[in-house]
Amino acid sequence: MMQIPVSALIGGGLIGVSAILLLLFNGRIAGISGILNAALDPEETEGGWRLLFLSGLILGAGAYVWIRPDANPTPVAMPLWLLGIAGFLVGFGTRMGSGCTSGHGVCGLGRFSFRSLVATLVFMATGIATVLVVRHITGVV
């Protein structure tokens, strides 16, 4: 019933390699929310590598989907205003909590940061609770 998804391990491994290379080359944490926030910060002078990282993010995913069109996922049917609320909360929360799935989850856990472990457990818990409420209690999506 539950087989080990090889593509998940390979994809995850690539994400880990990306984070290690950024640490080794530039001494930076591969946290997407932090990189995005700093790239948009007018007071941040050294933003060039961040813009290229973000471009690479789009190009890497885009190229894979271009080669394998079946990897382009169908969007979940939900009203755009709901997705807008989701985006607002993600943006607000990741700045307040200093990180997201990549910064706290992948990089923080890899550095055995207790702070990142707490953050990861908290956003997993509220994510699970939200899906429970939306799917099983109100039955919207």
């Binding site: 593509s7 998940a8 994809g11 995850g12 491994g13 994400i15 990306s18 290379l21 640490l23 080794l24 080359f25 530039n26 001494g27 930076r28 946290g31 997407i32 929310s33 948009l40 941040e44 290229l52 990282f53 471009s55 690479g56 993010l57 890497g60 995913a61 885009g62 190229a63 894979y64 989907v65 990897a71 382009n72 979940v76 709901l82 997705l83 989701a86 985006g87 607002f88 909360l89 993600v90 607000f92 929360g93 700045r95 200093s98 990180g99 799935t101 910064g103 992948v106 990089c107 702070r115 953050a119 908290v122 818990a125 509220t126 994510g127 699970i128 939200t130 429970l132 939306v134 099983h136």
Partner: protein, 152 residues
């Protein structure tokens, strides 16, 4: 110049990894969070694969006196378990559970020919700026943003 190039390489690998592991699928992510329904463990393996690499190699890299193309490592200096960390992460999780996007997959999906990632990223930026604005007000008691941690 090498810093720019390594930024691009790291971004490409990250985006490729997200696409191969199907984490650009909102459905995949929501099904991972749906532990009371038809649970899909894919995200656990993705995170496991990524953390296995970072856990093994972070220490090796950090043993160096400095990175290859920078003077020093830019690591988060806070270890506090404080209210902004917990409240912020909680709010992020709610948004994640609503939309099935976190910042990486949302941003990586911008060129996939759909409107959803654009709505997500635009509102994400608004939310982030709102938090920055609130926390820059002197009266804000729940101020959470840490400007010094550009990387996390």
């Amino acid at each position: 110049m090498p810093r720019l190039f390594s930024g691009l390489i790291a971004g490409l690998l990250f985006g490729l990894g997200l696409a191969i592991s199907q984490m650009i699928s909102q459905q995949k992510v929501l099904s991972f969070l749906d532990i009371f329904g038809k649970w899909d463990p894919t995200l656990l393996f993705v995170m496991g694969g990524a953390v296995a690499v970072t856990a093994l190699l972070s220490r090796v890299v950090l043993r160096r006196p400095r990175p290859l193309f920078e003077r020093k490592f830019y690591l988060p200096d806070s270890s506090a378990i404080d209210r902004p960390l917990v409240v912020g992460s909680a709010l992020f999780g709610i948004g994640w559970g609503l939309g099935g996007f976190c910042p990486g997959p949302g941003f990586a999906s911008l060129a996939l020919g759909r409107i959803e990632p654009w709505v997500f990223v635009a509102t994400l930026v608004i939310g982030s700026q709102a938090c920055k604005w609130l926390s820059s007000k002197p009266s804000a008691q729940h101020a959470g943003a840490r400007d010094d941690q550009s990387a996390l």
